[in-house]
């Protein structure tokens, strides 16, 4: 009998998809594997490939076995192909094939659409590893360094997940696309990664936390909607990826939270009440709250762009085909086909922001983006609770959806974070109030000094409330190996 819960280790690639009985795909993946390791060593975390990192590895996809912790050298991490267990008699949850049995092979008519979705998702995974490759050197603690590397190896595994789908279901085209995923590089001029936010640098740890909070959350929403797919292998892959993605959300939310907490503590200790007394706060060696807000503005808006145009035929087609659902499709109570439904979308009419009802089918992206914003607001609320507790009069805010956008209805529209439309001249004059400047970046950079003793933390970030895997405060999360 097939044991799809426990992971097979009889091939080079741990898996729960019986690879050892699928010689063609096994061979293809084994051929791809050296290139991947090359990529990891060349483009993965720089300077720490020999260190022992306390990482979580999945040994099975059920709750009991998917979080086994142990020390491992990253290049020896067991990247595998893991799919969530098959749901019996699963049906296509949306679109024109609603209620029909899910597909276990790629339906010919949707082949290119599916391939494109898998490739785009796959392209983001290695991209973030590339973006974050220099961060280890300035880690504010071994705890944070470990979390960074956990995020990195799991992004690596997510690449594997997408490559498996390409190799298994898309023949020669799939193999080619799988190779391309290793060839494109974040920030490269000749062959950049496919999406804008994944070509931006991650220069410092606050950026990393903001990235994992806001940009990885876009990833989460995309995975959520792909987990609804009528193409069952894609759905199962994404469902398991989501359990891992939750760790990335955790790193982001607690990371930003700990930076905020440390700033508030330092201000209180120094008797500073005015959060806008930036010079004085920075002199304490912590990041002032208004600068954190600017970083939030930047990362939130870059991430909104990842959702594409508010009105989109591609998204409508994918939904209608049953290839991509909405966030928590199964929990939505409607016809799941959107025949006559409408959805409110903000528009710019004669220079004024108005909300109009559009056919819901065309506003699939918009709806997912709204779900994203709601999800993102949750953490902001927690951060504000912490600020409030410390008695400092300041609130973090998500900016208006039209602020600082490059894609969609508000692309290039000069607008304040509160949604007031400006002239181009006013925008130029005032944008530094809302977006991080070079000087802000230099200041943050000046704080990025490594702290690598067990249990110690850089002065600009508070220690976590609880260790990974319930480990005590002075646990050595990374055993450094310095050549």
């Amino acid at each position: 009998m097939l044991d799809i819960v426990n992971v097979e280790y009889d091939t080079l690639i741990p898996n729960n998809v019986s690879l050892s009985q699928d010689k063609r795909v096994l061979k293809a993946l084994e051929r791809w594997h050296p290139g991947y390791i090359n990529w990891w060593k060349g483009m993965g975390p720089e300077g720490f490939q020999e260190s022992l990192v306390y990482l979580r590895t999945a040994v099975s996809v059920d709750p009991k076995g998917w979080a086994k912790f142990d020390y491992v050298k990253m290049p020896e991490y067991r990247w595998g192909v893991l799919l969530a267990p098959q749901v019996e008699d699963r049906r296509i949850p949306c679109g024109e094939h609603l209620g029909q049995p899910v597909w276990h092979e790629v339906p010919g008519e949707y082949r290119s659409m599916l391939r494109r979705l898998v490739v785009i998702q796959g392209d983001t995974e290695p991209a973030s590893v590339e973006q974050q490759r220099h961060l280890g050197k300035t880690a504010p603690s071994l705890y944070d360094m470990r979390n960074l590397f956990q995020v990195n190896v799991e992004e690596g595994r997510h690449l594997w997940a997408m490559v498996y789908l390409l190799q298994k279901y898309f023949g020669a085209d799939g193999r080619e696309e799988a190779d391309e995923l290793l060839r494109r590089q974040s920030g490269s001029v000749e062959s950049p990664r496919m999406l804008g936010a994944f070509n931006e640098a991650t220069p410092d740890w606050l950026s990393f936390f903001m990235f994992t909070y806001f940009t990885d959350r876009d990833g989460k929403m995309q995975l959520e909607s792909l987990a609804q797919s009528g193409f069952d292998p894609l759905s199962r892959t994404c469902r398991f990826m989501l359990t891992e993605e939750a760790h990335h959300m955790f790193v982001g939310e607690t990371g930003v939270g700990r930076v905020i907490q440390r700033t508030c503590e330092a201000m209180k200790a120094a008797g500073i009440d005015d959060p806008y007394d930036i010079e004085k706060v920075r002199a304490l060696g912590v990041i002032d709250l208004p600068t954190i807000q600017k970083k939030l503005n930047l990362h939130y808006t870059l991430s909104l762009d990842l959702f594409g145009s508010e009105i989109s035929t591609n998204a409508a087609n994918a939904f209608n085909a049953g290839i991509k659902g909405r966030y928590q499709e199964a929990k939505i109570e409607d016809d799941h086909q959107l025949h006559n439904a409408t959805y409110p979308v903000m528009q710019l009419v004669d220079g004024v922001v108005v909300t109009t009802q559009v056919p819901a089918l065309s506003a699939i992206n918009m709806r997912l983006r709204d779900d994203y914003s709601r999800d993102a607001a949750g953490g902001v609320k927690r951060w504000n609770l912490a600020i409030e507790k410390s008695g400092i009069a300041f609130q973090m805010k998500l900016p208006h959806d039209g602020f600082h956008r490059q894609i969609g209805i508000f692309a290039q529209v000069p607008m304040t974070p509160d949604g007031i439309i400006l002239t181009a001249g006013e925008w130029q004059k005032r944008k530094d109030e809302w977006l991080p400047t070079r000087a802000d970046g230099d200041f943050i950079q000046s704080l990025m000094k490594p702290v690598w003793e067990s249990g110690q933390y850089a002065g600009w970030i508070a220690p976590p409330k609880i260790g990974i895997d319930n480990k005590p405060g002075d646990f050595e999360y990374v055993q450094l190996h310095m050549a």
Partner: protein, 397 residues
């Protein structure tokens, strides 16, 4: 007083609302709103399926309550409430049925003060299954450990938990409920047995555990267990015990002193170390075992123990009933090894564990006093300091 409930709660300050737990919960006991993710005390059956998938550690929080917090209350929280004072004598760390509490208190009494867990011990789960709602395990095997002609019948019992999560750490005990009633028509008392397998199962990654049980002539429960056959179902409570645990730190040195089935937790400790070291070539602090029995034939695990390499486990055996030989007790072999033990007493990496019959306590205590004196040390303050820092543990019965 109402029965106390150990309520499963999520810490809203740490939770990031990823809802992974909600997906993992097989019975829909976890829900959320825009604010919090919460556990329905009326539904949660402590299966623990949500614990390991949580990326934050927020999931693993518990409060002992008389009346459980409602979903509405939990949804309104921005932080966990502190543990309220509940009833006289209710101990939050080891909140458990009174009978179990009394049994463990008596077993730990020999340490001379309140026991503490080793600093680096893993966090134990306790009271996951109660007498009212026990887990049902299936017997996978029942093997006689002692020679057929030995006077003691000691059994190695393997219990499988199937799909139920039964999270247990080395050194913890479980309760066994023998079926039927006594002469007065009351259910039999629950009996505690120390688990003799490591946390990841008798075999790695099997959801099973083993017990080491000696048949007592008039013991209802021990006879019940020793007579179990493969496939039989057993009602199990627990796990219990939050202090008699092993340190996770690999460089800690374990001194383990036992008689008879007191070896059960030490078998678990040894197997755990062996498995961890197989995967991790960390600094091995070593372990030493001082084991007393009547004869080699009646010493549980004598054969397998001999095969454990010395760099993992130094073994010292004492036999009190071997024909033609002087009687040797466990304190005698401790004295023979006085120099090594005296060194161990002076290292803060050393952890001492004593497990077996109550009768062994006095002899062992005396041996430590002598060994300490021989090295110019005073045993009692050393013992008390070790106990305070979670490095001295006694479990005798």
């Amino acid at each position: 007083m109402n029965a106390l409930l150990k309520q499963h709660l999520i810490d809203p300050e740490i939770c990031i609302r990823c809802h992974t737990c909600e997906e993992a919960c097989p019975i829909g006991a976890i829900t959320h709103d825009d604010n919090n993710v919460v556990v329905d005390a009326g539904k949660c059956n402590f299966c623990m399926a949500c614990i390991s998938p949580c990326p934050t550690g927020s999931i693993d929080h518990w409060r002992v309550v008389e009346t459980p917090y409602s979903l509405d209350e939990q949804l309104g929280w921005s932080e966990l409430p502190v543990q309220a004072e509940v009833g006289a004598g209710a101990n939050v760390g080891e909140a458990m049925e009174d009978a179990v509490k009394a049994l463990l208190a008596s077993a730990h009494a020999g340490a001379g003060g309140a026991a503490r867990a080793p600093l680096s011990a893993a966090k134990p789960s306790v009271n996951v299954f109660s007498q009212a709602q026990p887990a049902v395990a299936v017997v996978q095997g029942n093997f006689r450990l002692t020679a057929a002609d030995a006077d003691a019948d000691v059994r190695h019992i393997i219990l499988d938990f199937g799909a139920q999560a039964f999270p247990v750490l080395e050194g913890q005990s479980i309760g066994i409920l023998a079926p039927g009633v006594d002469a007065q028509g009351r259910p039999h008392h629950l009996r505690l047995y120390s688990v003799s397998s490591p946390r990841d199962g008798e075999k790695p990654n099997r959801n099973n555990l083993s017990l080491t049980v000696k048949r007592e002539e008039t013991g209802v429960c021990s006879n019940y267990i020793c007579d179990l056959k493969k496939g039989d179902e057993v009602r199990v409570t627990g796990p219990f015990g939050t202090t008699f645990l092993m340190p996770e730190a690999l460089d800690s040195h374990l001194v383990m002193i036992c008689t008879g089935t007191g070896s059960a937790p030490f078998r678990a400790f040894t197997m755990r170390r062996q498995r961890v070291l197989a995967a991790d070539t960390g600094k091995n602090g070593g372990m030493a075992l001082y084991f007393g029995a009547r004869t080699p034939q009646s010493l549980p695990y004598f054969g397998p123990l001999a095969k454990v390499p010395d760099n993992l486990l130094q073994k010292h055996f004492a036999f009190s009933r071997v024909k033609g030989q002087d009687k040797h007790y466990v304190q005698d072999i401790m004295r023979q090894d006085a120099q090594v033990l005296a060194t161990a007493l002076q290292s803060d990496k050393s952890h001492i564990y004593i497990c077996g019959l109550k009768a062994m306590e006095a002899g062992v205590e005396q041996a430590f006093e002598d060994i300490a004196r021989g090295a110019g040390l005073h045993w009692q303050p050393i013992r008390d300091a070790m106990r305070e820092s979670g490095r001295y543990h006694v479990e005798t019965y």
